[in-house]
Every structure is written in C-alpha cells, then in structure tokens.
Symmetry: C2
Subunit: 312 residues, 2 copies
C-alpha cells in the first residue's frame, strides 16, 4: 500500500445528516451537549444542522441555537448545510465557519430533494458567493456534490456530469468542493477513478468525501480515497442518517468505526476513541428506539490498539 | 488504485466456521441443500466441515456425509478443516480435495483452541504430509495461520513469528498457506504490511486470506490484500461465525457482501449474487433466531449494479 497521509480530519455530520433522517426530535440541550462532548473528544469540525424551513425539517429547527453554542468552543470549525441563498444569509449572519451547499449530480434526485436542477443550484452558488463577499464575513463556502456515484431514482450518474458540476461550482465561486455517495452505490474502484479525475479538476480545493455505509463499503471507500491523499471524511456517530429521498439508503459511516480505522492504520485524527464511544452510548439513550449502526461499540477495541502518533 | 486482479475466488466457510459457532444444529439435509445451492450459484470452493471429535463440535458431526454429497458436484473443490493427523486420515479416506490444518500464531490462543503449541502443529503438518504422500491421494494440504494480526488472549502477535510459522509449515510439507485474522484485529495497513512480507516467503503458495468483520474492517482488509494480488477469500453466508475461544470475536466477512464488493470493483467471482441472496434468505430460516450480519440483503443491489466481466 502506498504511503498514507499522516493525519486526517473526521467531520461529524450526525447532528445534520443523522438527525434529519430520524423521527425523534432531539432537544437543543442534548444537541449542545453532543457538540461539547464531541469537541472534548477531539473533533474539530462539526456540521451542526441545516438552515431549511423548520416546517420541512422540524428536527433541525434549532440549528441557530446549536450553532451559537458550538461557536463558543475553541478551535472548532462549525459548519451548516444551506439549501439556498436564504439559508446562506442566516449562516453569514450567525458567522458559521463554513456553509455547505448540496448539489445533486442526479437531475432526478436534485428535483426530488432540492426542487431545483443541478444547474439551478450552480446559479444559486454564484448568488451565495456574491452575498458572502458583500457581507465581509469569513464564512467558507463548500459545494457538496451528492449522488456522485449513482442514484436510487435515476440509476446511473455519469462521472463526466459529476466533474462538469464540480468545475461549475468552483467557477461559480465555491471555495471548495466535496463528493458524496449519498445512497451507498460507490465501491473502492469507482471511488478511486472518480476522485482521481476530480483531483485533476479541483486539486487542493477537493476537500473531502462523504460515504454512506448502505451496502457495507463505506470504510473500504474511505481507504480508497485516503490512498489518493483525501484527508477529510464525513461521518455520523452511531452511523445514524441517510437520505429521506433515496429509498433504502440509510447509515452514514459510523464516526467511531471511521476513527478506529484511521487510527489503526496510523493516520492521526486527534480524536480520543474512548471518549467517542462514551458519547455514542449517550446518543443511543437520547434517541432511544432509533436504529444505530457500527461495529466497534459491540466488539470493543483490540487489546493491541494504539492510537496513531500525533501529527505535529 | 493499482490494477486489480480480473478474478478472485470466494471460498464459503459458513458450513464450518459459521456453524461451529452457533448453538443450532443444522440437519444434514439442509447442509447438503446449502452446498448444492451454493454450487448452483457459482461457488466453486466450499469448506464443508471439520473432522474434530463429534463430542467437541456436535454441529459438525455429519461432516463426512456433507463431504460425500459435495463431492458429487462437478467442478467443486471440497475442503475440510482437520485439527490433527487423525482428521487428515479421514479427509484422505473420503478424498477431500483440500484439507486445512489451522495453526494459531498466538501461543496462548493455540493452547486454548488446539491444545498444542504452534510448533507442535508444525510437527503435525509433517506427519500429515507423510500420510498424504503414503496414501496416494491427491488431497491438497493448506496450513492456515490464524491470529496472524493479534489475539484476544495474548494481545500482540509479532509479524516475525507469523512469518516464521508460515515458513515452517511450508518446510514441513504444506502445499500452500493462508493467513487469518481470527479475531478481527487487522486493518488495511497491517494487512498490506504482513501480506507483502508473507508473499516474499511463500509466493504463489500464499493462497488466500480469511478476515473477520468483528470491527467492521473485513471488506477494507480484502481490498488491501487484493491490491497485492491475493485472490482467494474466505467468507460465511450471512456473516455467521467466529471463534468460540476468542471472546468478542464474531462474524466472518459475509459472503454476499464480499461478492458484491468484488463484482462491483470489476473482479469476477463467477457467482450469481441474486442466487446467493436467495440462499441467504433460506439460511436465515434454517438457523432462525441466530444472529446474522451483512448489509446487502437489507439494502438490495444498486440499480446500477453490473456483474464483472467473466474471466476467460
């Protein structure tokens, strides 16, 4: 295996991608406790919610409060999903560190999920960039290209279309872009092929990967991307989450399993896995009755486990 | 990602490694139906049981009958686990195509599981080789080095000790050797390191890998080995199995998920995944109430799934 990166960033997205897909509405105080405990465990990037209308996702109606709390924690990059310019304006007003505009490379999924064509989302990116620049805020803008490996509605999504949209988002003013396997269709070979091409387009501005474990391949896909030098991965504690508009899709990569994978391979995440497992146990109590995933919590760490050497 | 092999062999071990770890005793007729259906689905290597005393593993007491049935199927390589010379004599008598002598590289695990030191197992290999040669049978002998990545009892297992035992087994007359992560301690980086060194010792005689999914890394580990040219992988339908002497260890790689991974990556297995999923559903009825694993059965195949091009 070629030399792996010495460190990688795990971005917790359970508070957004996870909680939006389950019925339970987690109270704000538990969300804030989650963010504080994740930060204490060493996580330095957390997606705290989404600025969608509260009637569409009541689970995330308190995103502003959670964001405000998260902003008090030192060294934490606080990100938020934004569906459009209106969401971006709230993110700017609240000084989020990062706002992520999702774009679905599948036209069918895009219409079902965002009620816009992919190119309409690109046009929105341009408006968001203009608003950010006019605001004087330092909030970064990420374009997240989803259903990048296929879609449960339309089936195939051509890599050429994914790459075109990646370029279009950058041209429209995204500071950086990422690729997401929203429905768990990717495999290590397709990850390797698409990320290799995407790196040619975006270089360092290709900032990360978001894999779902729908068909058990999320961690193998992470390794494939890591081998190309990708060092930021989204994950949900307890593997909660999915996409309500993609039937059968459920389960982000579980944060605790991802951290275990990376640390075992000698890739430093800066995260205390024991603290993470304790937080997972707490989360399970908060969302009692909801399905959770992952394997490490059940088996425990190997006797031989040593965290990776800390990056300097 | 470097060029992957065009095809790989999945060896079903659920009838041995799977059934030995669960309480349910599956009747011989169901085991035979399992073997026939697996063969019909395209599997060409099946481990049908173990020649251990029936009082120790009553679940596998009918190994001889299952072996006889399996031997009637065209093109099927029928293998059996043997703990010692006595077991080898039965395998030779019944003309198994392959007999696998397990050796645990962890001395502590070896004593608990096999009641022998690793070097006593090496000595047994020499006796087994002599018996095979004297018998005139064509039964191949595989030395399977387990706990190769660590052990739940003694913790660390030094790679140098694993490699020494691999060499010793070959010197004692094994036709081929394999490496097993009996307790789910391996990660893609450690797999890559150990298999790279093992290939230097054994070359083509390093015939395969056996990964447990105890901590969710089995498929990522398969990819790491595949990248080095390893093309035979053990798996259990429904991910059943584990090691009764290794607390916490449970779940082989699930055959159906492994086949999905390989075919998705363009690596031909010759296996019809739909037939395999149907057989999995049947197995779940046969072992009702026992835990099963895997993800593909729940999510279903991607709309975009195409089997790999058949190897010629």
């Amino acid at each position: 295996m070629q030399t792996l990166p010495l460190c990688a960033t795990v971005r917790e997205v359970g508070l957004r991608d996870g909680l939006q897909s389950i019925g339970t509405i987690v109270p704000t105080e538990h969300k804030c406790a989650w963010v504080r405990a994740a930060h204490a465990a060493g996580l330095r990037e957390i997606e705290v919610g989404s600025f969608v209308p509260a009637r569409r996702l009541p689970q995330l109606a308190d995103t502003a409060e959670v964001l405000r709390e998260a902003k008090t924690l030192p060294g934490l990059s606080v990100s938020v999903l934004i569906p459009n310019l209106q969401g971006a304006e709230r993110a700017l007003e609240l000084e989020a560190d990062l706002m992520i505009l999702p774009l679905s490379a599948s036209a069918a999924h895009s219409l079902a999920n965002l009620r816009k064509t992919p190119d309409e989302v690109v046009a929105e990116m341009a408006r968001i960039r203009a608003a950010r620049d006019a605001s004087g805020r330092r909030t970064l803008i990420e374009g997240g290209v989803g259903t990048a490996f296929g879609c449960t509605i339309q089936g195939e999504v051509r890599p050429a279309e994914v790459l075109r949209l990646l370029q279009a988002l950058l041209d429209a003013g995204a500071d950086r872009v990422s690729l997401a396997d929203t429905v768990g269709y990717a495999d290590p070979a397709s990850v390797s092929r698409l990320f290799e091409q995407a790196l040619k387009i975006a270089g360092d501005r290709l900032c990360g990967a978001h894999f779902h474990d729908t068909r058990g391949l999320a961690l193998a896909n992470v390794v494939a991307a890591l081998q190309l030098g990708i060092t930021r991965f989204d994950a949900s504690l307890g593997g909660i989450g999915g996409c309500p508009h993609a039937p059968g899709a459920s389960g982000n990569a579980a944060t605790e399993d991802l951290v275990f994978l990376l640390e075992s391979m000698g890739v430093d995440t800066g995260i205390d896995i024991h603290a993470l497992l304790a937080l997972r146990a707490q989360l399970v109590r908060w969302i009692e009755g909801e399905p959770t995933h992952g394997t490490l919590w059940r088996a425990g760490l190997p006797k031989t486990f040593r965290p990776a050497r800390a990056c300097t």
